[in-house]
Symmetry: C2
Subunit: 573 residues, 2 copies
């Protein structure tokens, strides 16, 4: 018998139709890899033919990278109560280097699981966690370094490649494959993504595959400068708003519009249970900032944080399946005074928490001093670490200053140390940076952090447009992506002002898809221009429906189309 | 007795409150130049003090460049029936090189003026046109070349300088004046804009001041790469929609949000009368594409266009006061075949019209063959010419191709020829260009067209986001502005899909203000960072109202602010 009350079941079982309806004229396709259980999802947009005076000209279907998971597959049966299908457990078990635990090993995880008051909130189909066998290194980086191509690597190779080899062999695509040479700033992209190339990039630390062994539902994806630029979105409840069902709906909504990964930044009630629901239903990697939850455990008092509490939180979340953790281990005690003359001080929430702890105790950041043990935990579950920039600039005035770059240099030191443990690493970046100073961030990150993937928030190129900061930051994001940043953390129109609603999330995501795609085109990612060419041809031929269907937001494009307009392709100037 | 029916009077006399209400906590200030009738408008945003444990710290007022004209001045009395105050006639008359005509000299202008059926539409206070005396060269470029600093030049010097000298001398602004060095791609901006610098830039052809002697209501502004990057907006009725009063409201709306110039692209009814109403009430320079109106005069049949008809249209519009004309004189017959293999052919409306004419007659573009006479007309009224890019790319695929660049080279030839007539010149640019190919457009334009100001539409950095093309193009616009483009033609969310409404116009303008300001910061325009610094300081100190008031769109920022948010400056990641 279910312990979950009827209304809760009803709500979570019913995602909105808006979040799940299939995209128009699209079909979900799966490309099978070297084994039958390796099926890589893509979306294929079918087109209508071009009418000519003679035979109609066929316009071939266009494959589109698809982050939406089974939710847009009409053949998939979605049951939020049961979670998504388990894609990876077979692969993980077959490696024979992990063991299934009896239950959670964190004190907090155990307490939550045995608390009868939480029964009505708890995800029912709890799988016991898995962990590396003692002495085993089970991260994607560990395998890559040993020369092993995992199914996850093959999956992302097929996914990144987007059937480009087939398109090249098919004469219907010849003109659509026309593409301008890119400028990839000294790192030309390969003509084809092979599993071996993926393995090599992961081994070098130039790319990460965030895929915790306890998140077998994830559709593997890769973050690295030699792959498609990715975007992250943020959700999370807070003390004032939101419920579990809303957070799951937001996750599906984010994946629908193109979010490649998602950070759950909840700070409200039932963070643990909310996260479980999200993970069990998420096709995209989930990131968190564990210090946020740790702070809730000490009622918001940073000075009461301890390494032991954070460690327990790391294990708690790792055993649920979080794929990457933001860890602000590079904010050192001696860097804090460097922020004294800033216009906007320390604006990173994690940075601020740790700075308060350091100053309260006059001690070095405990995430730094316990970094070895921290890495051992990450390694046991293959949680990637995203080294946080607690001192990122919160205004143009503070961009690229000594505080920011001192921390970045320490992140480089930590990168090497994490890699010694085979832990996959990303580096977080700013923030607020004017156009002419963006490239220096990338150049310095690549040099100081040995090409570990850079993951930036925007940056905003001006501070004077609150309510439009998806745009101020989208401009910076396109540029920093072009220069070599691997993942862009989205910003919504409500940044600095309030909590985003669903339409804000959609605007933020589409803006960042534009930035990421613009960066791919700028770098010359092979095949990146196919969709542009197809849409432009449709536009020139007045195939309105094809134009809508090939766009990043077909629904909005159709809604904006003014049917009273004369059929005339000319623009106004 | 007025011939204008009561309801028309009522409608046009009543601009919406939304278009005219003063900005919050702002006051209109005027900086007087070397003569009492030279008063340069600016907006000043007052701030609240910072609360400290001791004496409150004063935060000084921040000057903001102001395009909104008298409409936001509570002391101005607005009467659309009478038009705006005449700022420049005294300056123009004092030069003694123009004469007041008895009435319009174009056949069309005379016919419209004497048609009793139009009486109810006609602007009442018709001033007779002014023209250069025979043999006189009365353009701002002509004066500049003769070493004369006109009041218009002094006006724009004060306007561009934005009281920066005063701010530098005032210790309250010391920290707000902190600014990062820019990268202006070999053209460092002067520390202070002097009237002599303005004169020199206009004389070199590196900047234009679009200010027809028949538009004395205009508040002079300058377009050139060594000044603030400007933005243009488009309005215009069409066969299906809009009325005179709507167009005037749109003009005021555009100026309110920051449009520096405005193109009236009307193709519907009563184009002549609509333009008169707009000009008489417009504080910003007005541009047109005269071939659009000429085409209406031949019922939309391009092949029936003649030079005589276009010449009459040029004179008609010049005598009304249009400040710049887009002229597609560089689209040569032999360039048309270069577009044959394009994905999107010829997308410029003007380009398409002229290509059809050329092909129908198998003759060279009559705007090219009559360019000398055309320049003589422009010179007689000081209409600047914006040399149109009729072959601009309409898709990424067609960017930077031979057709586009062949036309650009001809625009360079025409630039020199126009300058021989002292005609001020701008060069129009694309369009659709991926990130890595944008800079080549600027480099080539500056070289081929001898640094004449570049004026681009976007460019869009991807084709796949209809409904978000303000953003796809805003990214390109920020970059092309940074590289040295002088003016950015805005794009609204409805581009490619439909006609923009007021909210679309506002979104387009704010997006382009962000792009232009981002470009100014990128180049290192002195003083550009003051507003960013002030807003960031307000943000850090939780002075919410100051944060809203200092933003590009104070109303939207206030509306988005979620008062339920905890008072916490930390962002979520």
């Amino acid at each position: 018998m279910s312990a979950i009350p009827e209304d809760f079941v009803h709500k979570t079982a019913q995602l909105s139709e808006a979040a799940t309806r299939p995209f128009p004229n699209s079909r979900k396709v799966y490309v099978t890899g070297s084994r039958p259980d390796l099926r890589v999802p893509m979306r294929e947009v079918t087109q209508s033919p071009t009418l000519t005076s003679g035979e109609p000209e066929e316009n071939p279907p266009i494959p589109v990278y698809d982050t939406s998971g089974p939710y847009t597959d009409p053949n998939a049966s979605i049951d939020l109560m049961a979670g998504l299908p388990d894609l990876r457990s077979g692969w993980i078990e077959a490696r024979g280097d992990t063991l299934q635990l009896d239950g959670p090993t964190s004190a907090f995880g155990r307490a939550r699981q045995s608390d009868p008051a939480l029964a009505h909130l708890r995800f029912e189909h709890l799988r016991t966690p898995r962990r590396a066998k003692p002495g085993q290194s089970i991260t994607q980086m560990a395998y890559a370094r040993r020369g092993i191509v995992t199914p996850e690597m093959e999956f992302v190779a097929i996914r990144e490649n987007m059937r480009l080899d087939e398109l090249r062999a098919d004469p219907r695509y010849a003109s659509l494959l026309r593409q301008h040479p890119g400028n990839a700033f000294g790192q030309p992209l390969p003509e084809q993504i092979t599993p071996e190339f993926v393995r090599d990039e992961v081994a070098r630390g130039r790319a990460v595959i965030p895929a915790n062994i306890n998140h077998p539902e994830v559709e593997p994806m890769i973050i690295g400068r030699n792959f498609r630029v990715k975007i992250n979105t943020n959700i999370g409840n807070s003390a004032t708003t939101s419920s579990i069902e809303e957070e799951v709906e937001k996750m599906v909504w984010s994946a629908r519009w193109g979010g490649d990964t998602l950070m759950d930044l909840s700070t409200g009630k039932n963070i643990h249970e909310t996260r479980e629901w999200i993970l069990r239903n998420s096709p995209v990697p989930i990131g968190t900032v564990p210090i946020y939850q740790a702070l809730e455990k000490v009622d918001g008092r940073p000075e009461e944080l301890t390494w032991e509490l954070v460690r327990d939180t790391l294990i708690e979340q790792a055993e649920q399946g979080v794929d990457y953790f933001t860890i602000h281990a590079g904010l050192l005690l001696r860097y804090i005074p460097l922020t004294a003359d800033r216009v906007t001080g320390i604006v990173s929430r994690g940075g601020s928490i740790l700075a308060k702890w350091c100053l309260a105790h006059h001690q070095e950041n405990f995430l730094y001093t316990n970094f070895e043990e921290l890495c051992e935990i990450l390694r046991a579950y293959d949680v990637a670490v995203s080294l946080g920039d607690g001192l990122r600039p919160g205004s143009l005035a503070d961009a690229n200053d000594r505080a920011q770059f001192a921390e970045l240099e320490t992140l480089g030191e930590l990168t090497k140390r994490a890699w010694e443990h085979d832990v996959q690493v990303m580096i977080e970046g700013p923030g607020h940076v004017p156009l002419q100073m963006i490239q220096e961030n990338v150049t310095k990150e690549l040099a100081d952090c040995f090409e570990a993937p850079f993951y930036t928030l925007g940056p905003l190129i001006t501070d004077i447009a609150p309510a439009y900061d998806h745009i101020t930051s989208g401009i910076g994001a396109a540029n920093i992506g072009w220069y070599g940043t691997a993942m862009l953390c989205y910003v919504t129109p409500k940044e600095h002002l309030g909590l985003p609603d669903k339409e804000d999330v959609r605007s933020g995501i589409i803006t960042y898809k534009i930035a990421a795609h613009g960066a791919d085109l700028g770098k010359g990612l092979p095949g990146a221009q196919v969709q542009d060419n197809a849409l432009s041809k449709a536009r020139f031929e007045f195939r309105w429906e094809d134009q809508f269907n090939l766009s990043l937001d077909p629904e909005r494009a159709r809604e904006f189309h003014d049917r009273t307009l004369p059929h005339d392709s000319h623009k106004v100037a």
